[in-house]
Symmetry: C2
Subunit: 241 residues, 2 copies
DNA sequence: GTCTATAAAAAGATAGAC
DNA sequence: GTCTATCTTTTTATAGAC
């Protein structure tokens, strides 16, 4: 039995709504997103919005569910290329996250909110997806540890949390806002600092070949200090510039 | 001329206020902290609060100023031990940040807020302190790069932003909330992942001595999987558990 | 299901007595 | 400077006509 036309229209409408919510959530966060704003951007009356989603929390939850679905789809896609080491898949997953963030499409929820967290925690669909994502990623992580490319001292949980946290890392927006670097450049740096740390890949004093045991993150060379495109007067200001 | 008694009382009162604001800011963030709440916890009427600080933003700014002052003081303290490599000083600074966070005393501001950011950006005292902190830290970073212990491909700015970002990293609260690990353990892991990345220190296949070129982060050994104190049924849930 | 109009509540800020 | 009581605005949510 084909989906009735009504139903399809409704789904399209709701997808448009979630699109807006997703963008606003990525842009200003949950508490600074107002329902009036959502309604205005979708181009419908607020009361109509509430016919589709019963509350602001439900709006946010819908956006979160969709991003989890997309993350799982990204994992599927990454796994389509067979036989690659787990660390490579993890790199690609984080790369996907960075791309999504850079595009302003990664909805971020406040880490330490109270009511919203409990609402999400009670959402069966959301929690189910979150669990599936965590377990699949956890599998990759454990695999990478057996391969020797993720530190074995770290519990899988710690690695998992760290990867999740990178999906709302303020460094990307800050670097993007500085306007000095390309998207590729920024994403490369973030990948590098996540997997290899600020100390960078193991640089044995003299120029040595890559250690094959560690699948090194591609480190894009940046131009030397002289040629570096740096706005002259701009002062470094990490918060509230 | 000694400070008048009135003035000293006022300062003590305001310090008590900032204490509360600081804790609430660390606990729930700016937007979920209400002025009513602050007044209640300080034990004074809201109107009296407004005699001391003209707005909620001013309250937050005061807390931020104080944490910057404390961070600068921490740098002073770290520099009191002479002759240590820059990377060691950076480690200690991040350690200070982690301790402060763990104690629930690191006020976190929303990264992508609008009005508050502009208020802070207009605050001369705040911006001045932020600049001083950034420049001093930037000096350490550049030094560490010359020593070869921070990746030279990374602009100082990127390293700086990354360190600042660790001061509001959700991984620490998550691990703390899991209740499975000690404070020391958590802080060690975060230091390690920040400087050495998820891949960990350069583990050349066979057990090798520490590479002296890289001042390695102390990696606390954790008990093996069998002995690891892990709550049995608890499932991993990075967001909204 | 969509709209206009309106409740209802929360939260920042202030008036005015003491 | 501190208080009680109140104002004002913002924002979530709903009533009720069409």
């Amino acid at each position: 039995m084909p989906t009735p036309l009504r139903e399809r229209v409704r789904l399209l409408r709701e997808e448009a709504i979630v699109d807006v919510v997703n963008r606003l959530l990525a842009d200003k966060g949950y508490e600074f997103m107002t329902v009036d704003e959502v309604a205005a951007e979708v181009g419908m009356a607020k009361a109509s919005l509430y016919k589709h989603f019963p509350s602001k929390e439900a709006l946010a939850a819908a956006a979160m569910v969709r991003v989890l679905e997309r993350a799982l789809a990204a994992m599927d896609e990454i796994e389509r290329a067979p036989g690659r080491p787990a660390i490579t898949r993890l790199h690609e997953m984080l790369r996907w996250t960075m791309r999504t963030m850079y595009a302003g499409q990664m909805p971020t929820l406040p880490a330490q909110n109270s009511d919203l967290r409990s609402v999400l925690g009670a959402d069966k669909v959301y929690m189910n997806l979150l669990l599936r994502l965590s377990e699949r990623l956890g599998g990759w992580i454990a695999e990478a540890q057996r391969e020797g490319s993720i530190a074995t001292q770290l519990p899988v949980e710690v690695v998992l949390f760290t990867l999740f946290a990178r999906a709302c890392d303020p460094v990307l927006p800050l670097l993007k806002a500085s306007g000095q670097y390309s998207a590729e450049q920024i994403q490369d740096w973030l990948l590098q600092t996540c997997f290899s740390g600020l100390s960078g890949p193991p640089a044995t004093a003299a120029p040595a070949p890559d250690t094959p045991a560690r699948a090194a993150v591609k480190t894009t060379d940046r131009p030397g200090p002289a040629a570096r495109p740096r706005r002259p007067g701009r002062k470094v200001s990490p918060a509230a510039g």
